[in-house]
């Protein structure tokens, strides 16, 4: 999987250093001003300038003075319970049945022969659960309120001392509870499905008693070799990301081997990422180069030059890494000439104390690049190195990272060849999390997405009819996906320009790669400016929308990476933000809506 650097920010780093809080604040401000303006305009049209202003002010005042303090938890629970009962009455549990059917048949379609069945299985169940739960949330949340307004049951609610906030929160709570129940059921089913689906067994195919090594049969398109220790116990080699234990017993003079269940297939590595910087060809701080790939994910350093990639890690301490550092690398290699086909491109790793005064660095640790796979490398606690140019044995934690900070420098050694890297391509593995825990966290992430959908669904249903609310919610969510598009258009990464320019190109049948040559410079400038304005406002708008691309975390489960607490916390905060936002918007809509109209 591929991490974006923002994914491994810690929570507080995101909140304070990366401007999460500031952005949220800014967004709140923008939305508040925007909301006030829209409200005032509507009110203006209804009842004139001064009266309109008075009306808006009154609603705002009431929100803070009356309705917010008057919000009662008991009423919320009452409405929530009602929503829950209503949902059950609408047979939401059918979705569980559908899911069971899907995973029953999924066994047919999922390729157990694939090189990494665990990944396939997990992605499948997580994605299926995700879609089903979101769909459920969408339908539940959008249809309820319009249905009540239509059937006028809402009359008996709003003529009670029920606050608009309670109508919104109660529904969110109720549907959230339904969704949670469904999600938990689906989660348990998924977990069992994954664990059971991956269970497999091997038998021994060959065994050499003299060397005590053997080979297992080919099951699920993989096999292991194994070595039996003196006690008749052993482990197999790693294949498809897992190992088995082996026990050798003798029965009737024949060897009998008992293989244990797969281990390590389902796990959650805890990676620690660092910050990446480069030294350029002149040896000074610089950046990597491009080798001409379209993708800009990697930056490249040239071999046998002064270029190097430097990762700076912090929080390197003995308690996190008692056995030294487990480095996990997935560098790219690029050859400008084919060279030696058999051996890969070579490089070296150097560990360095980031404090330039200390003058401590390890000797070069040579390695050969392994592309597109995780290259694991154990760095022991004691490494050979130099201190003040004296060759000594260095202690990782005392000499190299005395205050928890450590630099890892990677260079390419083959001249003319290149290494490509991004910040996430070198990680230190600080142990593992149990799979079930990671699985739970993954489902919490689905839960958060579900809550966002519910919030938006209920919000739209406060002023739209059911089907329209569904479409609106969907559009809102889909719009979130296109935030990147707007950014790309602004930065000229997408050819063909903005909406106006594109339209002109379509009509005049001009390709996207050609210049927009209208023979009128000022006109072109105007068009581009208009496009830019449209796309920038779109970008601003979409930046405030939930981007389900980023909220999805199924990759973490599938690739066995511990879902970062920071990321989850961030998503939680964002979900809370959306909750508050939709709550306020809903309040104003409910407050200003004639229920009997």
């Amino acid at each position: 999987m591929r991490f974006k650097p923002d994914q491994f920010w810690s929570y507080f780093e995101w909140l304070f250093e990366q401007g999460g809080l500031f952005q949220g604040f800014l967004l709140t401000l923008v939305l508040a001003v925007l909301g006030f303006l829209v409200g005032y305009l509507v009110s203006l049209a209804r009842s004139g300038p001064s009266e309109g202003f008075y009306a808006v002010a009154k609603v705002i005042r009431e929100f803070f003075r009356v309705d917010l303090p008057g919000t009662s938890w008991r009423r919320i629970v009452a409405i929530g319970r009602l929503a829950f009962k209503e949902a059950l009455r609408r047979r939401v549990l059918v979705i569980v049945a559908i899911f069971v059917v899907i995973i029953m048949f999924a066994g047919w379609f999922l390729d157990t022969e694939s090189s990494n069945p665990a990944r396939l299985y997990i992605s499948f169940v997580v994605t299926a659960t995700n879609y089903m739960v979101l769909l459920l949330a969408l339908f539940l949340s959008t249809f309820s309120l319009p249905a009540e307004i239509k059937s006028r049951t809402i009359y008996t609610i709003v003529t009670k001392p029920v606050r608009p906030t309670e109508i919104f929160i109660g529904r969110v709570v109720g549907f959230g509870t339904v969704g949670t129940v469904v999600l938990v059921v689906l989660g348990v089913l998924s977990y069992l499905f994954v664990v059971r689906g991956l269970r497999h067994d091997h038998a021994d195919k060959s065994f050499s008693a003299s060397e005590m090594v053997g080979e297992t049969t080919l099951d699920r398109s993989h096999k292991h070799t194994f070595k039996i220790g003196p006690e008749g116990l052993g482990v197999t080699s790693e294949a498809n990301g897992h190992q088995h234990t082996v026990k050798r017993t003798t029965q009737d003079g024949r060897d009998v081997f008992v293989f244990g269940p797969a281990q390590g297939e389902l796990g959650a590595r805890i990676p620690v990422f660092g910050k990446l910087r480069f030294t350029g060809a002149d040896g000074n701080e610089g950046s990597g180069v491009s080798v001409g790939y379209e993708s800009e994910y990697h930056q490249w350093i040239e071999g046998a030059s002064l270029m190097s990639a430097i990762w700076k890690f912090d929080q390197i301490n003995e308690s996190s890494f008692p056995n030294g550092l487990m480095m996990e690398m997935s560098l790219g290699a690029f050859r400008t000439y084919k060279g030696d086909i058999v051996t890969g491109v070579r490089g070296t790793i150097v560990l360095r104390n980031p404090d330039p005064e200390s003058n401590v660095e390890s000797d070069r640790i040579p390695f050969v690049v392994q592309e597109y796979q995780l290259d694991r490398r154990q760095i022991p606690v004691t490494v050979k190195g130099t201190k003040d140019k004296q060759s000594v044995d260095l202690n990782l934690f005392k000499d190299l990272a005395p205050n928890g900070e450590l630099e890892v420098i990677i260079r390419c050694e083959d001249s003319g060849q290149y290494f490509g890297m991004a910040a996430a391509d070198v990680a230190l593995r600080a142990g593992d999390m149990p799979f079930w825990w990671n699985f739970t966290k993954g489902y919490v992430s689905i839960w958060l997405q579900m809550m966002i959908v519910i919030c938006f669904g209920v919000m739209f249903s406060t002023f739209l009819s059911g089907p329209v609310a569904i479409v609106a919610t969907l559009s809102f969510l889909i719009l979130g996906f296109f935030g990147g598009l707007a950014t790309d258009v602004i930065n000229n990464k997408k050819e063909g320009g903005g909406p106006v320019e594109s339209l002109i190109r379509i009509v005049t049948q001009r390709g996207v790669m050609t210049d927009l040559d209208l023979g009128n410079q000022p006109l072109e400038r105007v068009i581009k400016a208009v496009d830019r304005g449209i796309m920038e406002s779109l970008e601003l708008l979409t930046s405030g929308l939930p981007n389900f691309n980023n909220l999805g975390t199924s990759d973490f489960l599938a690739y066995g990476v511990n879902l970062f607490g920071g990321l989850l916390g961030r998503h939680m905060t964002m979900t809370l933000g959306y909750f508050v936002l939709t709550c306020i918007v809903s309040y104003f809509f409910l407050k200003t809506r004639e229920m009997a109209a």
Binding site: S72, R75, A78, T153, T156, K160, P161, V162, E594, M595
Partner: protein
């Protein structure tokens, strides 16, 4: 018999704590999607409902009585004018604490049973569990649904639905009860029971605003009525005084011979009167109502002054 019709100033109203509902110049125009005027549902209504009385809104379908009730409850917003309940704006949620509302048809949750329904509405009044239980039992007893308390509302007959609707409206022991067509769909016995209940509630000191097109209901229970037609207030006053036709003298007698009847007729003739009818009296409420409707149709826009 004084009939209160004059609009009061806010000051006097505040002083006069007797007034439970007050509308001032209350108007409602329904508009279509494009904001074009569709229906002028209510035109400058001024009424006052005082504490402890049963006030009836009477009018044919579409006369604006439901609109009035919805405006008073805050379900609709007035196009102009204002409505006050307990001295608070109709849009204010807190007024609902003291209001019980029985909608035209009992728009309740069909998948709940009587207990759950009452419990749910009790929660909406933020009532603690013990109080809710007590009230629930009390009300179920009161509306006579003991046997059906665990049945889902969708299995209820119309009369039972009405009764649970009323129970729901009473859950908070309201000071003001707003009843929209309380007797619709009820059989004569049910209707009678409902009317008795309403009178009993009035006797407990509750103020009741009801609307109906059932003349008999209004006549039977209302202290005062307002007759609306096409959004206009046509009549307003005490039921007894409204029904008193001043230029008609009604004579009730028993055991008169034909000769005696002729004699009476002669006496009337002698005094320049005209014998209109000498028969068993008709339901005059209906007459009054029909008169108003007839007159209103002939002279649209004419507003009654009441009293």
């Amino acid at each position: 018999m004084s009939v209160q019709t004059a609009p009061e100033s806010t000051a006097t109203k505040a002083a006069n704590s007797d007034v439970v509902i007050e509308t001032r110049n209350l108007s409602k125009v329904y508009r279509d999607f494009w904001g074009r005027k569709k229906v002028h549902a209510l035109k400058a209504l001024d009424i006052e409902v005082r504490k402890g009385e049963i006030f009836g809104l009477l009018g044919p379908n579409g006369s604006g009585k439901s609109t009035t009730i919805k405006l008073i409850l805050g379900l609709l917003f007035p196009t102009s004018g204002r409505a006050f309940v307990f001295g608070k704006e109709a849009g204010d949620v807190s007024k609902n604490e003291r209001i019980g509302y029985l909608p035209e048809e009992s728009y309740l949750y069909k998948f709940l049973n009587a207990e759950e329904t009452l419990d749910f509405y009790g929660r909406l009044f933020d009532m603690p569990a013990s109080v809710r239980r007590e009230r629930t039992n009390e009300l179920i007893q009161m509306v006579g649904l003991q046997r059906a308390r665990r049945r889902q509302l969708k299995e209820y007959s119309k009369g039972m639905t009405r009764r649970i609707g009323l129970a729901q409206a009473l859950i908070n022991e309201p000071d003001l009860l707003v009843l929209d067509e309380p007797t619709t769909g009820l059989d004569p016995i049910g209707s009678r029971e409902m009317k008795d209940l309403i009178l009993r509630l009035r006797d407990q000191g509750k103020t009741i605003l009801m609307c109906s097109h059932q003349l008999a209901d209004v006549q039977d229970v209302c202290d005062r009525i307002a007759i609306l037609h096409q959004g206009d207030l046509k009549e307003l006053g005490r039921v007894d005084s409204l029904l008193k036709v001043r230029d008609v003298t009604e004579v009730h007698a028993r055991g008169l011979s034909d000769a005696a009847k002729n004699e009476i007729a002669d006496v009337i003739k002698k005094h320049g009167g005209q014998l209109v009818q000498m028969d068993n009296p008709t339901t005059t409420m209906e007459e009054l109502f029909l008169d108003i409707v007839r007159e209103s149709d002939q002279r649209p826009g004419h507003r009654g002054t009441g009293g």
